[in-house]
Every structure is written in C-alpha cells, then in structure tokens.
C-alpha cells in the first residue's frame, strides 16, 4: 500500500486534511490579498507620478 493510500485509509485523515486545507486557505488568502494590494498601489503611484510630471 502506498503512502497516500495509507494516509487515506487512516482514521485520522480528516484531521490531517483539515489542517492542510486551513493552512492553504489562510496563507493563500493572504498571498492573494497582498498581490492585489501591491498591483493596486503600483498602478496608483504610477498615475500620481505621471500627474506630477505634467
């Protein structure tokens, strides 16, 4: 039996899956929010710098 089959057959699998899914959601969510904020701030600053140079 492979390691993944052993994991899926284990009575504690639900706990392991819950831990990994929660971590993925929390860290993935933080990453997405951070990337969106970074893109927005870059765009906003570029617009302001261009306005200042006019």
């Amino acid at each position: 039996m492979s390691s993944i089959e052993t994991l899926l057959a284990d009575k504690y699998t639900g706990y392991v899956v819950a831990a990994y899914v929660t971590t993925a959601v929390l860290l993935g969510g933080t990453l997405i929010v951070s990337v969106i904020s970074a893109a927005r701030s870059r765009r906003d600053l570029a617009r302001l710098e261009a306005e200042r140079k006019k």
């Binding site: 492979s2 390691s3 993944i4 052993t6 994991l7 284990d10 009575k11 504690y12 699998t13 706990y15 392991v16 819950a18 831990a19 990994y20 929660t22 971590t23 929390l26 860290l27 933080t30 990453l31 951070s34 990337v35 904020s37 970074a38 701030s41 870059r42 906003d44 600053l45 302001l48 710098e49 306005e51 200042r52």
Partner: protein
C-alpha cells in the same frame, strides 16, 4: 558601506525588486518538494498515526509566528531610535503575515491536539502565551488603522509592539520554564525518546526553510506596497491627485 543605506526607500525598492522573483520560485520549489515528501513519502508515527503529518505545518508556522513578532519588535525599536520610516513600514507589513501564521499554528495545533491530547484547547502556558501574542498582532494592526497621522501611528504601534514582546518570548520559552502538556522542542531535545525521528527530520527542515522563504517574499511584497502607499500619500499632500 553602512547597512543603513537600505533604510532609504529608493534603495530598499531597488534591492528588493531584484530578489522578488527568485524568492517566489525558491519558496515554491522548497514547499513543493518538502510538503510532497511530507505527505507522500513519510511513514505514520507508531503512536500518532497520520496526524504526525501536521508537524510539517505546525512547527514552521509556530516558529515564524514567534520570530515575526520578534522581527517586528526589532524593527519598531530601530524605527523609534533612528527614525527610519522603512523600519516602521517593515514592522507594519509583517504584522498581518505574523497574525496569519499564528492563526495557522493555533488551528493546526488544535486539530492535532484533539486526536492526540483528546482536547482542542488547553490553558497551557505555551498555548495561552501564543493566543495573547495573536491578540497583540490584532491590536497592533488595529492601532495602525485607527490613527490617521502615520508618524503618530508608527510611534504608538511600535510601543505597543515592544510591550507585547514579552509574550513572544514566553511563547518560545514557556515549555522550558514549566512542565506542561505541550512538549519541549522536538528538534533540539537531547533525550532520544523526545527527539524527532530522522524519517521526519529532513522533510521538516525543507518545509521550515520553504515557509521561511515564502514569509520573506511575502514580507518584501507587502513592505514595497507600504512604501508605495506612503509615497502616494506624500504626493497627494503636495496637491497631486
């Protein structure tokens, strides 16, 4: 050459801009290999079964949660003493990441504790000090958000951060001061029975390094955003809109 030149926002942006992509690639590789190894190629523990696989999330998250707070405290102290805005902004950028890693440590600890300790939560010194540290993270972010004047917000939140450093240190060393439900560090334990088995050690180190690189990349991304927001605010104050 002085390290303080990196406190110059333009220099900070120039240097960090060059390392962002390599850091993301490296963290993806390390986490991919480390977590893949952890999930697919490590055996079950003879006592804990498959729940041992939670260690690959819980230990790196807890380490980063505590060390992020210490990093924020150092950056805040440097900001207060030397008045470098980048220091304050790095601390501000680190706070949400530290709070999320603390939440991950608490949640994965609870999910691990239920089958192994038979409880989701225990008012154990280490768990309690981590929870208080989490509240300091929230308080620090709330204080930044509550004050409109950035200079004042930076100073007051830096002081709050330094007050909370006690709980970050307690989170780290509580298991050495008190004999509690939470075991001592599995990586540094001297007694063979308490030390982590070699089968788990290498993937755990890979995951720890991978999460640390991910943390650094995320921190730099957020710090660069804070610097841009500050610059944009300065331009608006000059009448540019």
């Amino acid at each position: 050459m002085s390290i303080w030149r990196y406190a110059n926002p333009a220099e900070f942006m120039r240097i960090t801009g060059q390392v962002m992509i390599p850091l993301w690639v490296l963290s993806g590789l390390l986490l991919g290999v480390g977590l893949g190894w952890a999930l697919l190629a490590t055996p079950d523990d003879y006592q804990q079964g498959s729940t041992i696989k939670i260690i690959f999330l819980h230990v790196p998250a807890a380490l980063i949660a505590i060390n992020t707070y210490l990093l924020m405290a150092i950056a805040s102290a440097i900001g207060l003493v030397r008045r470098h805005h980048v220091s304050f902004l790095v601390a501000k950028a680190a706070a949400p990441i530290g709070a999320v890693f603390t939440a991950v440590a608490i949640v994965t600890g609870a999910v691990w504790g239920q089958p192994i300790w038979n409880t989701w939560w225990e008012w154990d010194p280490r768990l309690t000090s981590v929870l208080i540290m989490f509240f300091f993270y929230i308080g620090y972010m709330a204080l930044w958000a509550a004050i409109d004047e950035p200079e004042k917000a930076a100073d007051l939140s830096a002081v709050l951060c330094l007050v909370g450093v006690l709980f970050a240190l307690l989170s780290r060393y509580a298991v050495r001061f008190w004999s509690t439900l939470h075991q001592d560090s599995s990586l540094t334990a001297v007694e063979a029975g308490q030390r982590i088995h070699d089968a788990f050690r290498t993937p755990l180190y890979l995951c720890m390094i991978g999460f640390y690189v991910f943390f650094v990349a995320l921190l730099l991304l957020r710090a660069r955003t804070e610097i841009r927001l500050r610059r944009a605010r300065a331009l608006r104050l000059q009448g540019v809109s």
